[in-house]
């Protein structure tokens, strides 16, 4: 299954809804999306991963790249994910300590930390 991407705004947050597979083949499209948003002045991103079926380390790399980009503008990148098999990948790689991970978009949007 291919990657699907859609974005919407809530207040100062931009929600990126990702579906399908984020892998070595599709990750470049997610990167482009994140780069475009930051270039557009959107520095507070919420990446909704609830419809992601597959995530590999290339996808992790793009998310980490996104985090670095928004941080350069004092922004934030929050993830929404409750899928155990996806969470496992963040856990294995220690990235649960790098990304704030939320259970719902509403929670991520209202989070300030």
């Amino acid at each position: 299954m291919d990657l699907s991407l859609s974005t919407r705004t809530e207040g100062d947050r931009t929600i990126v809804e990702v579906g399908g597979e984020i892998d070595v083949y599709t990750a470049p499209r997610l990167r482009e999306q994140l780069v475009d948003l930051v270039a557009d002045g959107k520095y507070h991103l919420v990446v909704d991963m609830e419809r992601v079926d597959f995530l590999d380390s290339t996808g992790l790399g793009v998310l980490v790249g996104g985090l670095k980009r928004v941080r350069a503008h004092d922004g934030s990148l929050r993830l929404v994910c409750t899928q155990e098999r996806i969470l496992k990948i963040f856990r294995i790689t220690g990235l649960t300590k790098v990304f704030p991970i939320h259970a719902t978009v509403a929670e991520a949007v209202s989070a300030t930390e």
Binding site: Y25, D56, L60, G61, V64, K88, T93, G94, L95, K97
Partner: protein, 146 residues
């Protein structure tokens, strides 16, 4: 001891093919349904790593995946032919990744792929593919339940 061997040009698209084949053969071999996701992810990581190295060092050489439906184990070997010692597999401080300004923004250190594999697969090894030849082989296995 049925065997399937897949050789593919070092292109990201073929990593998906490799995942698909590995999961299909694993399923038929009797690997537990619950574990197939791990097989797909781990084989995908090993192949992404190999594709990445080949593109850097030997883009015209294909990557080799061998699937062996052993008596008790389903075994996978992913073999690359890239010269060792380019630091690609260096251990990464993953948690420090986001703060590491030196790194190319989106570079996934290939070590992350191996970290994912090690986290997922109990039985995994990374060794020189053959004495005197360049390249490494990532070997993984899963128990066959049925």
């Amino acid at each position: 001891m049925a065997t399937v061997e897949l050789r593919f040009s070092a292109l990201p698209a073929h990593v998906r093919t490799a995942r698909l084949v590995a999961a299909a053969v694993a399923r038929r071999s009797g690997v537990d349904e619950a574990v197939l996701d791990e097989v797909r992810l781990a084989v995908g990581e090993a192949c992404s790593r190999a594709v990445h190295l080949h593109r850097r060092h030997c883009p015209e050489v294909p990557v080799l995946v061998t699937l062996v439906d052993g008596p008790d184990l389903f075994r996978v070997a992913v073999t690359d032919e890239a010269p060792a010692g380019d630091g690609a597999d260096d251990d990464m401080d993953l948690e420090g990744l986001a703060d590491n300004a030196d790194l190319d923004l989106d570079a996934v250190p290939p070590g992350v792929g191996l970290a994912v594999i090690s986290g997922l697969v109990d039985d995994v090894s990374v060794e020189p593919a053959a004495a005197g030849a360049p390249g490494m082989v990532v070997r993984m296995s899963w128990p066959i339940s049925a």
